[in-house]
């Protein structure tokens, strides 16, 4: 049957069971928007292409399904570079389709032409310029296959305008044909049995073990398996920024977030451990601090689906390439086999009491404000957390508010935390929250943002209002680029350079109202709870709460960049007792 390339593209997306596309039309992609009118696929019209990209990411984060974007050529494609890179760094499955000038015009510097595949080559897992309409179904299948298998990531298909208007004979490649067309792409999912056995032996022999859970747990849908492993072995778990929620914060073995702004116990447990079991984690510099000084006595078992992560930063004693869920399940079996065969797990009683000692002595801490004092951002988050309906999804931007969110929220369920970890993209939260709400319409979605972040992508609240996507945004507004201000205060002798944002402009309440949202301003601690209650009661439009918070508040604990995790800076009075972190 002859159909146009545009019809084939939309049909291929339907075949991939795409329900929602985030996009914005333009010249070269125009032909694809016509058959979209007749498709059951929902299209969400964004106000800026970067918004479409982050929405697709938020959607993918919470649903596990690939987020899909459709945008035109040239500036639209370049606007997609940031979300593509963001998705690449955080291993988020995403498929982006860009328009391109007609094949006859490629290379002539035509209107809105740019080398999209060239520009996005290093920001995607794979990309492809499709040169004939006949190739479109295969290109779409390959893009979805690559985006969602192995280590997930973003893919891009660049489609010239004449490829969309030309006709083709419809077909739909089989799984086998797709796999055969990619002879160089064979992700390893099953771990090596000998390595798994060796890992099981090391785990049972360890006296000071830590399970180091990364974002790969969530990507592999391995949260349940992780829980079984922890329960079976009684080993404590740290959950990285990308893995918050992968192991419940209310579980007695959960130590929370390690790293630069991790809590003292999580950081120190890794530092003093004799065995780190890295599960879908990549020894990011924000976790390790100064690499040669990181966890000096620990042996390392490293489970990762990407072989290139093994040994990239820290040489593992036992490398296991494979899918986290499958490997953890096999690991559990191997441990049970050893135990049944008479092996005995080493005594970690002393280690556990050290850990509980640290937890008691070094909890997260901030000084609550005295009456009449400025509002504390941590207090706002605690109130927000305690009033959040069951199953609330928290989406953050990047900076101090992100770290406080990760620290003070209690994540007891996987896929309830969405943030930009690897790339650290300011402006992520509003569009990502919209995408998350589209993916999980029955859940409450709170975006926690900074005033700096919010001003980068706030226009997408217009999209949210018009499309009836009622997200809630809490701006922790300190009128500063707060994290940069913190570094300037601590490491640049309080010389504040270009970090002060005006406290009066913009008027966030008016801005929110102008975008069709409810706007609420909060200046004092007494106003916090009523504002949150009001925000939680609104369900027919987005809400923006402008919390005016103390600009002097800093994120602690903190490992200064380039320092060892042993040089952790603790809040207030705790610093004097830091000798106990041994």
């Amino acid at each position: 049957m002859k159909i146009t390339g545009a019809q084939a593209l939309i049909r291929a997306l339907e075949m991939e069971r795409v329900e929602t596309i985030f996009g914005l039309p333009g010249g070269c992609i125009l032909p694809a928007y016509d058959p979209l009118l007749d498709s059951p696929i929902r299209h969400i019209l964004v106000r800026h292409e970067q918004g479409a990209g982050h929405m697709a990411e938020g959607y993918a984060h919470v649903t596990g399904r690939p987020g899909v974007c459709l945008v035109t050529s040239g500036p639209a494609a370049t606007n997609m570079v940031t979300p593509l890179m963001d998705a690449y760094m955080d291993s988020i499955p995403m498929v982006c389709i860009t328009g391109q000038v007609p094949t006859t015009a490629i290379g002539t510097d035509a209107f809105q032409e740019c080398d999209t595949v060239g520009i996005t080559r290093s920001t995607t897992k794979h990309n492809e310029l499709v040169m004939t309409a006949q190739d479109l179904p295969m290109a779409v299948r390959q893009a979805f296959h690559i985006a969602t298998t192995g280590r997930p990531g973003p893919t891009l298909i660049d489609v010239p305008k004449d490829v969309l208007t030309n006709s083709m004979d419809w077909y739909w490649p089989t799984d086998e044909e797709v796999i055969d067309s990619l002879p160089g792409y064979r992700p390893t999912t099953k771990g090596d049995p000998a390595m798994i056995k060796e890992a099981a032996r090391l785990i049972l022999a360890s006296e000071r073990p830590v399970l180091y859970a990364g974002g790969g747990i969530l990507k592999a849908r391995a949260a349940q398996a992780l829980r079984e492993l922890a329960d079976l072995t009684g080993i404590h778990v740290v959950t990285t920024l990308m893995a918050r929620g992968a192991f419940p914060d209310d579980h007695p073995l959960c130590l929370g977030m390690p790293g630069m702004h991790g809590n003292a116990t999580a950081v120190t447990a890794m530092q003093r451990s004799d065995l780190l079991v890295a599960l879908g984690a990549r020894f990011d510099d924000r976790i390790t601090g100064k690499i040669p000084a990181f966890a000096p006595e620990a042996k390392v078992i490293h489970v990762d689906i990407d072989p290139a992560e093994q040994g990239k930063v820290r040489k593992p004693d036992v490398p296991i390439v494979g899918d986290c869920k499958l490997v953890i399940e096999e690991l559990i079996n191997a441990i049970k086999d050893l135990l049944q065969g008479g092996s005995v797990q080493a005594d970690s009683g002393a280690w556990k009491s050290r850990i509980s000692g640290w937890q008691e002595q070094f909890p997260l801490h901030y000084e609550p404000s005295e009456p009449g004092d400025a509002l504390k951002p941590q207090f706002c988050l605690e109130q927000l957390r305690d009033s959040a309906p069951e199953g609330t999804i928290l989406v953050s931007g990047v900076g101090q508010h992100q770290m406080w969110s990760s620290q003070y929220w209690k994540f007891n369920e996987p896929y309830t935390w969405v943030n930009s970890g690897g790339l650290g993209t300011m402006g992520f939260s509003v569009p990502a929250a919209i995408g998350a709400k589209v993916g999980c319409p029955d859940r409450t979605v709170w975006a926690v943002d900074g005033d700096g972040c919010f001003q980068m992508t706030a226009q997408e609240l217009v999209t949210a209002s018009v499309e009836r996507i009622p997200i809630k945004v809490a701006i922790l507004n300190n009128s500063y680029l707060g994290m940069v201000r913190q570094w300037q205060e601590m490491f640049y002798d309080e010389r504040y350079s270009e970090v002060y944002l005006s406290p009066e402009v913009p008027d966030f309440v008016k801005w929110a109202e102008a975008m069709g949202c409810v706007g609420i301003r909060v200046d004092s601690p007494e106003e916090v709870q009523p504002a949150i209650d009001k925000a939680n009661s609104v369900d027919d439009r987005p809400v923006v709460v402008d919390f005016r918070v103390d600009a002097r508040e800093k994120v602690f604990p903190m490992v200064p960049a380039g320092f060892s995790n042993d040089d952790l800076l603790l809040p207030g009075a705790q610093q004097a007792n830091r000798g106990a972190l041994k």
Binding site: V117, G118, R121, S122, K125, H126, L129, I146, L182, P183, G184, Y185, D306, P307, A308, Q310, G311, K312
Partner: protein
């Protein structure tokens, strides 16, 4: 050139647009050094073989290989140990050789079993193929006369056949005959 840090990778790739850009982009982005690079279609239709000589400084060869493997079009990577592989390279050079010197250059070319491709008034163009080390020696000797222009292809390499395997195969072949 110091051979110590050099490693030869023979990379089989799907012959698709942009594959060389992906590979060179990966090297540039991760700060790996390419010493030489040769690309041509492989024996199987739709595939090319890329021979890369990499210069190891801070990165391990293992990491380079793993990163290369992440490229979707990369099908197979073999590390070729110089001791167990055959390597060849082609060189073209124009050498200034006027008067008496011409005879000396011709003699050198003959010793190295090279070819004279063109003769001008005061220069000659020669070609030489062989092991890259042999080409290095040749270039060193020619430098004395003045190299006007030179182009080397970069090395290509294949694994050396096991002599034992070769011997084993023969009787079997005969039986089959």
């Amino acid at each position: 050139m110091s051979e110590l840090n050099h490693h030869i990778l023979s990379v089989l790739v799907q012959n698709r647009p942009g594959v060389l850009a992906r590979l060179s982009g990966l090297f540039a982005r991760r700060g790996y050094n390419i010493f030489s690079l040769a690309v041509a279609p492989a024996e199987q239709e739709g595939f090319s073989r890329i021979t890369i000589v990499v210069d190891l400084e801070s990165t391990s060869l293992e990491q380079i290989v793993k990163q290369l493997f992440k490229l979707i079009e990369v099908v197979k990577i073999s590390e070729l140990n110089p001791r167990s592989s055959v390597e060849r390279e082609l060189l073209l050079a124009t050498i200034s050789a006027a008067g008496d010197e011409r005879g000396q250059v011709v003699e050198l070319v003959n010793i190295f079993e090279g070819k004279i491709l063109a003769v001008g008034v005061d220069a000659i163009t020669v070609s030489l193929d062989g092991h890259p080390d042999k080409l290095d020696d040749f270039v060193e000797l020619l430098t004395e006369y003045g190299i006007v222009e030179m182009q080397r292809t970069g090395r290509v390499a294949l694994p050396k056949l096991e002599r034992l395997a070769k011997l084993e195969r023969q009787p079997k072949d005969r039986k089959a005959g």
